[in-house]
């Protein structure tokens, strides 16, 4: 038997399949350079090749693929936002998500669970109703549900009135989903590489210079690169990178922590979120509860974990799911979130020509991966921002037009 196995092993006809094509050497010039090999950057590279025929593209990543916030989020996908600009943008992302696994040929474990945003106060009920109305107006599946329906949708939830913050109702968003975040990055990376895009890991940008002819010179720890266009997609380090090219951003870098429990018997179908209690939780396919909370209370560039976070989160988790009192936390981690003053992203052109920015993704970036990649690709290819991302341009701040304020007046156009 061992001999047969050995023979099988050395036979040439059973070659292993490489998931990624072999890496190519780093060249000194590309049409487009994307800084940041996370979901957003890789998606942008993929759509540049697929939709615009631009494959002379390099993605530079200082660590390894998806080593930043792509692998640190809690993988929730939804489009029930409050501002029409936001809701329309994320709804387009949902449309792309639904066919993504088939298109990329990788199992994203995209799982539509339904998304419940719990309301514990009259004010939260009002906001939920407002959100549901905005959503329905835009064709997004979203409604306010009361306690009776909530008991059917999520029987495990503690609906007792004898707790600190009794649940009064919830905003219900049936298409709310979770997905396997690493696979999203791998799928986009392979798709892009198959079209000729080069991905260079362990390549850190150390300086950026905008030249008179409109091209951009990048200094990296592996030599300098000349680029026709540059797309920056480095969530968590956005301000530091933009500073290299003289751009100041409306961003504070704040850690966002999350954790998972040990694997438990499947009991939680929907994704449960509570704004008042600062909780979001879903159960992964292997039974772990994936839990997140509020961002840390002050800006920081360190991805350390704190006991304050787990303690605070669990106090509230146990109000909603008291039977978890003996469950153990398995892992805890942090990512650095780009927090903007209006809780909307910063995407589009910058004061530097041919330098495009994709930043300010705070705590809401993962779900936008497909639509963001597609829009940034269009921007880099044509030099014009698509309508969907126009409201999010950096310049909105110098016009005092934050997206939260514009929401009521301009319905997405």
């Amino acid at each position: 038997m061992p001999l047969a196995l050995l023979k099988y092993g050395i036979q040439r006809k059973y070659k292993g399949n490489r998931y990624f094509p072999a890496a190519k050497p780093l060249r000194s010039a590309y049409d487009v350079v994307i800084i940041g090999g996370g979901g957003h950057g890789l998606a942008c590279a993929y759509y540049l090749a697929r939709d615009w025929g631009i494959s002379d593209v390099a993605v530079l990543e200082k660590g390894w693929l998806a080593s930043g916030n792509t692998a640190r989020n809690t993988a929730i996908i939804r489009s029930n936002y409050l501002t029409p600009e936001g809701a329309l943008f994320y709804e387009e992302s949902m449309r792309l998500w639904r066919s993504l696994a088939g298109e990329l040929g990788i199992n994203l474990m995209y799982s539509e669970r339904g998304h419940l945003t719990l309301a514990h106060t009259d004010a939260a009920i009002r906001t939920s109703r407002w959100r549901a109305e905005v959503n329905q107006h835009l064709g997004i599946d979203s409604e306010l549900v009361g306690r009776d329906e909530l008991a059917k949708l999520c029987p495990e939830l503690n609906l007792s009135e004898d707790i600190r913050y009794p649940v009064l109702g919830a905003l219900y968003h049936p298409p709310g989903a979770i997905a396997r975040h690493d696979a999203v990055a791998w799928g986009y990376a392979r798709g892009a590489m198959q079209s000729g895009v080069e991905i260079h890991q362990q390549t850190e940008v150390t300086g950026i210079q905008s030249l008179d002819d409109g091209s951009i010179e990048l200094e990296t720890d592996r030599g300098s690169i000349s680029a026709g266009q540059v797309v920056q997609a480095v969530a968590g380090m956005s301000s530091e990178l933009a500073r290299m090219v003289g751009i100041k951003l409306p961003i504070r870098s704040v850690p966002l922590q999350a954790c998972v429990s040990e694997a438990l018997k499947p009991f939680l179908d929907p994704i449960v979120v509570s704004g008042s209690l600062h909780i979001y939780v879903s159960q992964s396919a292997r039974g772990e509860l994936v839990m997140g909370g509020a961002t840390d209370p002050y800006p920081l560039y360190s991805t350390r974990s704190t006991l304050d976070f787990t303690e605070g989160l669990m106090a509230n988790m146990l109000e909603l799911f008291p039977f978890l009192e003996n469950a153990k936390v398995l892992r805890q981690w942090a990512g650095i979130a780009d927090m903007t003053p209006d809780f909307s992203p910063v995407m589009g052109i910058t004061p530097v020509s041919n330098y495009y920015i994709d930043a300010g993704w705070g705590t809401w970036g993962f779900k936008a991966t497909p639509v963001c990649g597609s829009c940034m690709a269009e921007l880099a290819a044509t030099g014009k921002a698509p309508e969907l991302i126009k409201p999010f341009e950096l310049e909105r701040f110098s016009r005092m037009e934050q997206v939260g304020e514009r929401g009521a007046a301009s319905v997405g156009h």
């Binding site: 409306p250 504070r252 002050y298 560039y301 360190s302």
Partner: protein, 96 residues
């Protein structure tokens, strides 16, 4: 970071404080809108040593913290008058 040395109340648990962001120079009332937008919205957001406004919530006391945002180390805390006096001194020394 667990303990912050408040200039008024002494060492207290970090949870008693809020961070209100970088110490910035407020523009003059008739400054251009760009200058105001910069003051209100834009941030240096430095990875490294920064000076920030912090408040001890229970006593509503505002003061300045110098800390390192890369390592989470608090380097010093100052009463506001003390901080701005030392700033003026450094500026004076620079211009000489």
């Amino acid at each position: 970071m667990k303990i912050i040395d408040c200039p008024l109340n002494g060492p207290r648990n970090a949870q008693e404080f809020i961070c209100a962001g970088e110490v910035k120079q407020e523009p003059s009332q008739d400054a251009a809108i760009d200058e105001w937008a910069d003051f209100v919205f834009l941030e240096n957001n430095l990875k490294g040593v920064v000076h920030e406004w912090w408040c001890h919530v229970a006593s509503s006391y505002w003061f300045v913290v110098t800390r390192d945002t890369a390592t989470e180390r608090i380097i010093a805390t100052y009463r506001p008058d003390e901080f701005f006096a030392s700033q003026r001194q450094t500026e004076g020394a620079d211009s000489e």
